[in-house]
């Protein structure tokens, strides 16, 4: 079984890029199964289902969607196994950029939208810096020079990563992406995350609605950067 985690900000084109890659994978005789993780609602599964591949949806609801994905990776793999798939493709919800839900042995792909400007690769954090490949989308909306500057910025953030220029509308780059997925080694044994999830253990995590500082306990960080533990 191979495992691919596709992460990236909302609207960056994860689903479209993945749809084209799935078509290429099917053409080359692979059997991918897809799990889409989202927060409250998604209709991406309907798009994926049109490709005639096994599709499952996970809605994280009150849980952080990346933590939810990580917590359920085992279950996703078992499900993919039961679908007789040889590859699990997991598309993340893509939200706060602080978590990188990449297991060490999976192929980690970060989809990143060129129109967000050349500073965005520096803002994305571990989602990009710990990825194996960065997929640049919407490059047709900018000049070649701007694409090249963006590429340079990605390499500044993650010098070793493979960069694929893709277009979710035309399907450009999907063959290269599918090839990379198919050539990735199978997963085996115990997996660990590449990057530690953030410290997020405070009263807000458990549902406190009041805003003032006096109501909050836990590991908390002040605007000036001072971090402290308050509580029992």
């Amino acid at each position: 079984m191979k495992m691919v985690v596709v992460a990236g900000t909302p609207g960056s084109g994860k689903t479209s890029v993945l749809m084209h890659a799935v078509k290429d994978l099917l053409r080359s005789g692979r059997s991918p199964a897809l799990v889409k993780i989202d927060c409250m609602w998604t209709e991406d599964d309907a798009r994926f289902r049109r490709l005639q591949v096994p599709v499952a949806v996970g809605l994280a609801k009150d849980m952080c969607p990346d933590h939810y994905a990580i917590y359920n990776f085992d279950e996703m793999l078992q499900w993919a196994e039961a679908q007789q798939a040889d590859m699990l493709l997991n598309e993340t919800a893509g939200l706060c950029l602080r978590c990188a839900p990449y297991p060490d042995k999976a192929l980690a792909i970060c989809v990143i939208d060129v129109t967000t400007g050349p500073n965005s690769p520096l803002k994305v954090g571990p989602l990009l810096t710990t990825a194996d490949a960065a997929v640049m989308t919407k490059g047709d909306l900018v000049s070649q020079a701007e694409r090249e500057v963006f590429r340079e910025r990605i390499l500044e953030a993650n010098p070793g990563c493979r960069i694929i220029e893709a277009n979710g509308l035309s399907g450009k780059g999907s063959a290269e992406l599918a090839q990379l997925m198919a050539s990735w080694p199978d997963i085996s044994g115990e997996m660990v995350l590449r990057h530690n999830p953030p410290l997020a253990i405070c009263t807000l995590c458990t549902g406190e609605l009041r805003i003032s500082k006096e109501h909050h306990r836990g590991v908390l960080r002040h605007l000036d950067g001072f971090m402290e533990y308050t509580g029992e």
Partner: protein
């Protein structure tokens, strides 16, 4: 300095793929030699930009058109396709504006770095851009505030100086608001292969051949014959006249 582009391509070959309905291109192969300007013509949506994109990424049957691009008759190596330092292609696209939130100078230095060139070239790009546009570009300007004409001039100058590559792709230069013949001359340089998408009679007739696109496919190749070359002389004269009229009106004077 790097010895980046030692391998000057001699020929660029486009091998046919399929149109939007999956029918084979009527033009099965076209070979373009150094020093040639070749046009791409056809109505909106006929696949001109797709053909340009195929060339830009050196398609190897792995794009929706299924076309293949060969350099000197061979498939280009992977590095040549993606690494800007090894890229043989410079492209001027239809995009008239920058989205990058950076200053002109910072952007150009970064671009020079991405191509493995001297960041000092930034000044040269700006100076050249200012010969193409009536509104001077200042190195400290943010890219996003530049006008269409300024952006276009900067993109052209950037290609001539920083992306100086043996193959130049141009998508619709006539929409520019800059001096188009001068821009084309700059981009074409010496002994380059120039592929230009155009509906402009003058630019189309400047090309020695033009590929005709329809429904995503390459339907035929027309060589510019002697009659057309005669027409070109007339068009050139007319264009010069229109340009001077435009300048008169722009300067707030009365057309005599």
């Amino acid at each position: 300095m790097s010895q980046a582009i030692e391998i000057m391509p001699l020929t660029l070959t486009i091998q046919g793929g399929v149109d939007k309905d999956g029918h084979s291109d009527a033009v099965s192969e076209i070979e373009i030699a150094r020093g040639e300007i070749i046009g791409i013509v056809g109505p909106t949506g006929s696949g001109k930009s797709t053909l340009i994109a195929d060339i830009e990424q050196f398609a190897l049957g792995d794009t929706p058109s299924g076309r293949r691009i060969l350099i000197n008759g061979l498939e280009p190596a992977g590095e040549m396709r993606s690494n800007p330092r090894k890229k043989l292609v410079a492209q001027l696209s239809q995009n008239m504006h920058f989205l990058a939130d950076m200053s002109v100078e910072e952007f150009l230095k970064m671009h020079a770095k991405s191509r493995g060139k001297d960041p000092g070239l930034a000044d040269k790009v700006i100076a050249l851009a200012n010969t193409l546009t009536g509104e001077p570009v200042n190195p400290a300007f943010q890219l996003t505030i530049l006008s269409g004409g300024q952006s276009r001039a900067l993109m052209v100058a950037d290609i001539a100086v920083i992306s100086d590559s043996p193959i130049v792709l141009i998508d619709e230069i006539e929409n520019a608001g800059i001096k188009k013949q001068e821009a084309l001359r700059l981009l074409a340089g010496e002994g380059k292969i120039v592929v230009v998408v155009t509906h402009d009679p003058m630019l189309a007739l400047m090309a020695s051949r033009r590929i005709v696109m329809k429904n995503g496919g390459m339907t035929k190749v027309i060589s510019t014959n002697e009659d057309e070359q005669r027409v070109f002389k007339d068009v050139e004269r007319m264009d010069g006249w229109l340009t001077s009229l435009r300048e008169t009106i722009r300067q707030g004077e009365v057309v005599a």
